[in-house]
Assembly symmetry: none
Homo-oligomer: 233 residues x 4
DNA sequence: CATGAATGAGATTTCATTCAT
DNA sequence: GATGAATGAAATCTCATTCAT
């Protein structure tokens, strides 16, 4: 019961701190402000966290941990690297979109902080990134993804895209629904942007001409003989 | 002459400030430090810049402006959206890699600063992003890129990837040469990661069998008749 | 039994507090530190002592009291002011040397604290000083020490010397055995304090008596022939 | 001129700080108090001194330095170790008595502070102590003081006595004139230290010469008539 | 122009101490 | 009787910024 009260208080402080840090930034936020918003004294904040920075770093822990756990629960149910990658991307974006203060804090305040790299919360975030990397590798090993891909690059592309979109959303307000981009991202990463030949309206007619088997390509409306077909060996 | 001296002083301050801000971050850097490194008094720093933040925002201007100008000079010489996109990506990454302090400052200190959005330097960075967007649109219009692509998304993917790689480089030290990634990024964005059918070792034999034109797929060593070929219409 | 437990706890706190205060000084020591070292809660420390300062003042009481009692037991067995003075000096220095934390606390933390003057522990220390003063006076009254000595000054010389040596020991590490100095101190001071023969009101009359040159000492009013004088060689 | 202003300000701060530290002690004194008393802002105090402790340690420097210089000027004019020792003791006590705040600070706040040992001011104080030690040694070497004296002990006795008296004066109010004790101290210590006549190889011969009773002192091997002896009354 | 000097304005942090359980 | 938890109350120290010279 008493433990619950401490826990509740800690959570309250973390919640309020998240709100304020996300809105005003770390430096512009004072402990006085957080303590007042949390209904405790400044000294009490320091009972729970040894420093303002420790408080900052403690904030993303719980949400991130839950997210990692969820990922780990879900992944086994998914078959195929492609589905798994998509699931992680979807999960990531959902996490960011559903917890805007969390994502603002992580992307705008924490990611660029060197000390954050030595944090448990960062370790958890790295766990997710590692899961994603594993899925990419799995796809390569399974022959689903191209053999010569650099899995780190793929991961950077996925995470970079997600983060870029999310930061734009926070700073510019657009797009307002980043989760909508999951499929476009996945599709594009999987298939590329370039229009391919087979995507063109293409048909080949095979016919006997000049006593030979010939193929003509019908494109842009006008057919022309493109090849004589020799029997294969 | 006197103007030159002022200009030189201003540049000195900007140069030193870039070095120190990039290394220690904005908050951890003091005007005293910058003034000492620049060989001027603190008050003199305030002669040139009205506030510490104004100084911060003034730093990336010149480099960014030069970069934009270069892009604008080069692009007309390039034919084809694909080449142009590649050129901008390459230029971006080269800019970041060749000016590590600049990129550390922009990516770690400035991008997450809301006030930075109202800055001339930001406007210049946005110019580059706009060039990239235009090229992507051009490719779509030209039929080189898929019609249903969201050009903003493509741009976010490209920029997000570049920035993610660059931030990893600054914070983790790897990869140590991000420009190497230009072609892998472009190739992947253009073509996708998934292994396609046509990439498989596939050959089709056309032959006359049973008095009909038939096609057999040679795959994995064993041929089997897969279709009878009817004359097209 | 319960009383014993309380007593034991109190002693534990005092012991630990002595150690820490002596090592780090009063201001640098926190109640949290003492309570942890004592295995009790901070609040419990306040059950036994009303304030940090009260705890500080309580520490030297017991040791000092025991020391006073010992002095009082021993002194009656000693005959002669000189022996008594020496005994007290020896006792003092032994007390300080055998209880280094105690002496560090008393000499470095307490002696310069004005409030300490109103303390029972100080009262006890003053008791010892008074014993020493009494012995000095006794010596003067007995005619062992010079009549015109200021007994306070003598005491200050003895105590000042002891404390100076002890403080040097604590701060500089030398001398490492202050008790060795008891006799040098006593000898030197006594040589200065002690009534010498030539200082006594002494006059020698030389005269011819019985046909011999004789000398008579006039002392205490009554002359008596003390020697016949032979021509020297 | 500007230098003078800075110097004056520094002195003002030091003077006020001395007053307040001496009266209330280091811990009980706040920078706010000192700055107000000095007529400057708190920040200005920190312009001159990097920390409260640095200010504390800076206070005794000047007075002590002047005192050392004075000692060094005076000593050469004095002949004989005894006079020199007396001069230093007198100088010491005069310094302490004429600068009560200084002596209160040094004796009650600084002497027991370990960090003070690494201070320039402490170095100066040590200089004086060294001068005293040198004089004592000189006396021993000259045969004025006993050969087997430990000069360090003598010095500790002198300094310990002075300090004890001075501390008593500060804490108890008595004696109110410590300089009065210079001669008693010197006399007493000297009586203990001094090589005495009876310690010298001395014999007095009484004999009849010229029809009178005469005394000759045999010293250093050569006798000479020193007095005619008249019959006493 | 340049700057030495001064400071306003807080912010973080620390602890001794209290009190309800 | 013991303590976990909370906090009141400062105090030190830091800097961006200003201004007179």
């Amino acid at each position: 019961m008493v433990i619950k009260r401490k826990e509740a208080r800690r959570n309250k402080i973390i919640t309020r701190a998240l709100e304020i840090f996300a809105q005003k930034g770390f430096q512009e936020t004072t402990i006085a402000e957080i303590s007042k918003a949390s209904g405790v004294s400044e000294a009490t904040v320091y009972e729970y966290f040894n420093s303002k920075e420790e408080l900052l770093f403690a904030i993303p822990e719980e949400i991130t941990r839950e997210s990692v756990e969820e990922f780990k629960k879900i992944l086994p149910y998914l078959k195929g690297a492609e589905h798994k990658v998509r699931a992680i991307v979807l999960g990531y974006m959902t996490l960011y979109q559903n917890n805007p203060q969390y994502s603002a804090l992580v992307l705008l305040q924490l990611k660029s902080n060197k000390k954050f790299q030595q944090t448990r919360a960062y370790e958890l975030i790295r766990d997710i990134a590692r899961l994603l990397l594993d899925c990419i590798r799995e796809g390569i090993d399974e022959g689903i993804f191209k053999k010569d891909l650099d899995p780190y690059l793929i991961r950077s592309m996925l995470l970079g895209t997600i983060e870029h979109l999310c930061i734009r959303w926070h700073l510019l307000g657009v797009p307002n629904n980043i989760v909508d981009y999951v499929d476009p991202i996945i599709d594009l990463i999987m298939d590329g942007m370039r229009v391919r030949d087979e995507d063109k309206k293409l048909s080949i007619n095979l016919y006997i001409a000049d006593g030979k088997l010939a193929a003509s390509e019908m494109n842009n409306g006008n057919g022309k003989r493109v090849a004589d077909v020799e029997p294969g060996q």
